[in-house]
């Protein structure tokens, strides 16, 4: 499975073969460096740790500098693991570089990112509730959630509303996976992946691009 760490650059549009204008998200992915190889013997599972986006060694604490030094590289801002099944041994060496070239024959990808934070949002925005009429005598409750429980609906099962009742609260800024997005093009020169549609997060935020299952 191909996997790379990247940064969302932004969105634009491109023409496909049929001459249709399709929305595209540009992700600057890699080059990623293999910073650690985990094995069943030493760590209990097989994985390869990769890092993306160099940072100044002076900004990192010494253990982290030493960790990346083992892979003869500088500390990375964004580090993630690629898990391998227990039986297979990952074919990677410390300090190996991974680039978008791995994606050259891949058609569809999953992109994992952190969605934009929306703050404390009401139920209409957060859960798509319908709200109440703007007029016809409706007063001071146009975007209210309505009744959250009753003795009847909960059948006297206990105090308070049901667990998981959808209410207002913090929205966004969570891990989101956009699945099965078409990979429109790969630019090995600029380390770019062009993905059809939208990718979670703001421009400049980190994301993980994997080949779709």
């Amino acid at each position: 499975m191909a996997m790379l760490l990247g940064k969302k650059v932004g969105m634009t549009r491109v023409y496909d073969e049929a001459g249709k204008l399709v929305p595209a998200t540009v992700v600057q992915a890699g080059p990623c460096v293999v910073t650690q190889i985990k094995s069943i013997e030493s760590d209990g599972y097989n994985a390869v740790q990769i890092g993306f986006d160099d940072m100044k060694p002076s900004r990192r604490k010494k253990p982290m500098i030493g960790h990346s030094h083992k892979a003869s590289t500088v500390p990375k801002r964004f580090v993630r693991e690629i898990r391998f099944p227990d039986k297979s041994v990952p074919e990677a060496n410390l300090g190996d570089s991974m680039t978008v070239a791995d994606f050259s024959d891949i058609q569809r990808v999953d992109v994992v990112g952190t969605s934009k934070g929306k703050g404390f949002a009401g139920v209409m925005k957060r859960h798509g509730f319908g709200g109440f009429p703007a007029s016809h005598g409706c007063e001071r409750k146009h975007r209210a959630p309505g009744s959250i429980a009753s003795h009847c609906s909960n059948a006297g099962t206990g105090p308070g509303p049901k667990k998981g009742k959808r209410m207002a609260g913090h929205m966004g800024a969570v891990r989101v996976t956009s699945k099965n997005l078409a990979l429109l093009s790969v630019d090995p020169e600029r380390n770019l992946l062009v993905v059809k549609g939208v990718v979670p997060g703001a421009a400049g935020s980190y994301c993980v691009v994997k080949s779709a299952k």
Partner: protein, 122 residues
């Protein structure tokens, strides 16, 4: 940095040489139209009343009168379906957007002719 990368991606969809025309020109727009399996070329002719946007988002508007009814079509200049834009008559226009033509009818919709080198007489 960000814009450069985005332009590099969108730049691959841009046409190398886009035909030259000006606001107020009467143009023939050659559009590629797919009907089932057949591909044919349709010509939409009218006056260019606006041109806006940059890069891949650049669009131009062509207005003509069909059966006493104004018809406007907006074309993306870089679309592969816009095969060619041929300027056939140059019109004198003193502004960049000729939206005032929408309020006119009959003979008043014609712009005074300007003799220009880029037009190709039909």
């Amino acid at each position: 940095m960000k814009t450069e990368l985005l332009e590099a991606v969108a730049g691959k969809s841009l046409k190398k040489d886009i035909p030259y025309f000006e606001i107020g020109d009467t143009v023939d727009v050659h559009c590629r139209i797919q009907e089932g399996n057949k591909v044919r070329t349709q010509i939409f002719s009218g006056t260019v009343i606006s041109r806006k946007g940059r890069g891949i988002n650049e669009m131009f508007t062509v207005r003509r009168i069909v059966n006493n009814e104004g018809v406007e079509r907006i074309f993306p200049i870089h679309s592969p379906n816009v095969l060619d834009v041929v300027a056939t008559r140059s019109g004198k226009a003193r502004r960049a957007k000729l939206y005032f033509l929408r309020d006119r009818s009959g003979k008043a919709t014609r712009l005074p002719q300007r003799h220009s080198k880029h037009t190709i007489a039909r």
